[in-house]
Symmetry: C2
Subunit: 219 residues, 2 copies
């Protein structure tokens, strides 16, 4: 089996590759893992020996098929546990991350498949992120940032980019949650802030920075 630490490196590398779309640097991994570049280099050698990553000295890394599958299965567990915490144990969407970071490393196929079944096979986690299947296959839902839409577009809230508790709490306060309808009433020329109508009821302004972090699709 792989160690807790190896799993966390694979997950970090997966997310960086997903984000940047290219080979990721030692420093980028070090920052994400809150560790030093020298430690990362040591681990990269190990992950490379185990065929989880493609690694050439000084050239950055990408995941092999084996590494990507392993990363996606950890992400599957993380997201299923988040869903469980919110749906069954009264956690808020801004409280689940740290616990799921621990639970994702529990090793039991039966456990995770039963959790999946218990939740009735959810497609996304509480933040709208897609849940990979048991083989590590991911169906990415088609969504774009709200900031990419225009005046009078009518959208459906699909997820978030920033997952920080403070951002999620802000969305709660504004009543912006998964599945809500968001219609763009106006876009301010000066700062690109948006006036939006949520669920045909509340009308208010959000900054363009906020809009960039809200994922929606056209309704």
């Amino acid at each position: 089996m792989n160690s807790y630490t190896e799993e966390n490196y694979l997950k970090a590398i997966y997310k960086l590759v997903e984000q940047d779309g290219e080979a990721v640097s030692t420093n980028a991994i070090a920052e994400k893992m809150n560790t030093k570049a020298a430690s990362v280099t040591d681990m990269l050698k190990k992950l490379s020996d185990k065929k989880f990553i493609n690694y050439q000295k000084y050239q950055g890394v990408t995941l092999t098929a084996k590494g990507e599958k392993t990363a996606l299965i950890i992400i599957r567990k993380h997201r299923l546990w988040e869903m469980f915490l919110v749906e069954k144990l009264n956690f808020k969407w801004d409280e689940v991350h740290d616990v799921a970071e621990q639970l994702e490393h529990i090793n039991s196929d039966k456990l995770i498949e039963q959790i999946d079944k218990f939740l009735n096979f959810p497609k996304t986690d509480p933040h709208g992120d897609p849940i990979p299947d048991a083989n590590g296959k991911l169906l990415t839902p088609k969504s774009k940032p709200l900031s990419a839409f225009n005046v009078s577009d009518n959208c459906l809230m699909m997820g978030v980019v920033d997952h920080s508790p403070s951002f999620l709490q802000y969305l709660d306060k504004m009543n912006i949650t998964l599945g809500n309808e968001i219609k763009i009433k106006d876009i301010v020329e000066f700062d690109k802030s948006l006036q939006i109508i949520v669920n045909k009821k509340q009308t208010f302004f959000i900054s363009n920075d906020v809009a960039k972090n809200i994922l929606v699709k056209t309704k």
Copy 2:
């Protein structure tokens, strides 16, 4: 916080003290932890420094109040997770141990209290073992081995001594489960085997060894 390994040592020491009722030896711990005596000595020093155990070289160990509370909170988590697996995720009582060994180390007060609530505050785990409360207090249910009773005594199945999958599967096959009524019809003079009537329906023989491992109380 305490490491995964420290927690496992504390749990092992708790169980050995509970079983033997006196200071436990380095070798006994080594055997229970599947490790070597030299490794145990190292860990005992560390646990002693942290005030979890009373330890004098060559004299064996007992738990301090702090150590016992810590052990009981780990046992609380283990037993609540076992109950969750059986009650909510279709695990059998002989399948839960290994997964619960992992889950017991998850660190989140909210998580474990919500699991407790979700299960409607169970008093015992799937094997009839009592679940300590959130402060590490344990109410031991009064039960004795079936082998301590006499002909025509009518008992209620309360738990098991041996927790091995093979023993639990045997009990399943014989339809002996928690809460069943067990009446002693006869005790064979020769080998002390027992003829029992389960739930007023099935009558059959069990060995004295088996009877020693079934915990009951008088109905």
